[in-house]
């Protein structure tokens, strides 16, 4: 059984007035996320990431399509009992202290008092807020709010955790802490579905990734597969003691030559002519400094896909 199953999901907002056009924010989105997986949902602002998450949680109604959470239809109360959710830029009840806040969400999840007390202490420790447990949330910084928000999503030890831009507004240390929490969730067999527009987060954390733009899934799969599938390799050869522009054979094989004093950088469009170029450079008396093959990164694919299709 998948943790999340989305089939042909469409969300269209009907206009208030007849002369206005309907706005489709999700068009025929299909994807599935296996249990125990970390899935990254990548897309620009307004791509439809938050809308998808809200439909999963029953906050929005789908226009058409089928959405399941842990085997139950989304929107059912039962489907949310094993789900933790952290919205984007969360605002919480600022009159509550951190401890009261987690206690409230524990009660909403139907946990027993002793369990709430134990989990609250554990999670406050885990997100580094034990010392601020008696402080009201209105006195928290943005990073602290993000961390307490993450703690509320985990209070009932859910099977599936849905995080909307969990790293936004965090400093580098805060981001690392959130990344560590996400990785430890995977170690405990939990499923994490998170959205972001920061590609490095996805590369560091995710088993699989989906790229969304203008409500459509443009790419879906394991990062290595996506990178391989769309790989346009280039090779950079750095060599001292030669002037590349004076070597006509190198000029004809290279896509670009950059000369800085004694040092020459030759960029090739692939590995096909690498040996030939190296031989010419050696013959001309060049001293090889480095050969660096470049594969397309997820960022290249993201930019290429979103710019081409949008």
């Amino acid at each position: 059984m998948d943790a999340i199953l989305i089939e042909r999901l469409t969300k269209t907002y009907q206009p208030m007035w007849p002369w206005e056009r309907p706005v489709t924010v999700l068009a025929d989105v299909s994807l599935s996320i296996s249990r125990g997986e970390i899935f990254g949902f990548l897309g620009h602002n307004g791509a439809g990431k938050t809308t998808t998450m809200k439909i999963l949680l029953g906050l929005l109604r789908a226009t058409s399509g089928r959405v399941e959470l842990l085997g139950s239809l989304a929107g059912n109360v039962a489907s949310r009992s094993q789900v933790g959710y952290l919205p984007e830029s969360p605002y919480f009840y600022d009159y509550l202290t951190a401890e009261e806040f987690l206690c409230f969400y524990g009660k909403l999840a139907g946990l027993a008092r002793e369990v709430i007390q134990r989990r609250t202490a554990e999670l406050l420790e885990r997100v580094g807020l034990t010392e601020s447990r008696h402080r009201q949330l209105r006195k928290f910084s943005k990073g602290m709010l993000q961390r307490i928000g993450l703690a509320q999503a985990l209070i009932h030890d859910p099977e599936l955790v849905i995080l909307d831009e969990p790293m936004s507004g965090l400093d580098p240390i805060g981001r690392k802490e959130v990344r560590d929490i996400i990785l430890s969730l995977r170690d405990h067999g939990k499923t994490v579905f998170f959205s972001t527009h920061i590609i490095s987060d996805v590369e560091m954390l995710c088993d699989r990734v989906g790229i969304l733009a203008r409500g459509k899934v443009l790419a879906l799969g394991r990062i290595e597969e996506l990178v391989k599938e769309h790989a346009i390799q280039s090779v950079e050869v750095v060599c001292d003691g030669v002037v590349g522009a004076e070597l006509p054979d190198v000029q004809s094989l290279a896509t670009r030559i950059v000369q800085r004093g004694e040092r020459c950088l030759v960029i090739l469009s692939g590995q096909g002519h690498l040996e030939q170029v190296l031989a010419i450079l050696r013959q001309a008396g060049g001293r090889l400094v480095s050969v660096i093959p470049h594969k397309n990164s997820l960022e290249d694919i993201f930019l290429e896909r979103t710019n081409r299709k949008v």
Binding site: L59, R80, F104, Y105
Partner: protein, 254 residues
């Protein structure tokens, strides 16, 4: 029921921490000030005026809280987006609305109870008799306030706070004038006016039905049947309005 009580408990805590009970200080000053100022009047008049003013003040403060806190119950949650994490839990939207209503309802009950106790103390200290009619009046004030609160909550499920407050206040005023509207309709020469005013009479809540303050201030008891009918009417009407609020809220996208 558990989920409703959790939401209600949190609503209660929120309202208390918003320092809503500070109104009681204002109420106490008003009451004590009034009794001191009226101390020079003759005994019979003083008793009636203290009763009249006391009940009116309780009614006014309770209705103000019901409207201005009531309209924020749902809209504030939506504006601050706190509603996302609540509704993402295993809780239905109906439970959420009922929890919110129950939480503020409890605040209203506590508030009216404290104000009434302060009022009775003032009556007693000024040497006047405490009539049973005062209890009848305050019970119907509570019912009316619960109904007004349901109306405020209903409007706040689909409109902005300012619009909700305006519509609730409008309905509150009309609710106290429905008998007059019926009288005007009966005497009207225009059929359109008659139809419109009669419809308003039947659709809008008759809040004047729950107003026995005038009699109570003079120590005149209302009949038990009237008291029960007015109570049942107010609570049923509130139930109906709450059902409407739940139906609208269930269809909303967040």
């Amino acid at each position: 029921m558990r989920a409703i009580l959790v939401v209600a408990g949190n609503t209660y805590r929120e309202t208390i921490r918003d320092k809503i009970l500070y109104n009681l200080v204002l109420f106490a000053i008003l009451l004590i000030g009034t009794s001191v100022l009226l101390g020079t009047l003759t005994i019979g008049e003083q008793s009636r005026i203290v009763n009249d003013l006391g009940l009116a003040a309780i009614n006014l403060v309770a209705v103000i809280i019901a409207i201005f806190v009531g309209i924020g119950l749902v809209t504030k949650e939506m504006e601050r987006r706190t509603i996302y994490t609540i509704l993402a839990r295993p809780i239905t939207r109906v439970q959420f609305i009922l929890g919110k209503y129950l939480g503020l309802g409890f605040i209203i009950v506590v508030n009216i109870a404290i104000m009434f106790a302060m009022f009775l103390a003032t009556v007693w200290l000024s040497g006047n008799a405490i009539h049973r009619s005062l209890f009848q009046a305050v019970e119907l004030i509570l019912v009316e306030t619960l109904l007004v609160m349901a109306i405020a909550l209903f409007f706040s499920t689909f409109s902005s706070p300012i619009l909700s407050a305006t519509m609730t206040l409008g309905l509150y005023v009309i609710g106290h004038l429905t008998s007059d509207l019926k009288a005007i309709a009966d005497k009207s020469q225009s059929q359109l006016t008659e139809v419109v005013l009669t419809t308003v009479y039947y659709v809008c809540p008759n809040l004047e039905f729950m107003n026995v303050k005038g009699q109570a201030a003079s120590g005149v008891l209302v009949e038990a049947v009237y008291q029960m009918t007015a109570t049942a009417y107010g609570l049923l009407y509130a139930g109906l309005i709450l059902t409407g609020a739940c139906l609208i809220f269930q269809r909303r996208d967040f």
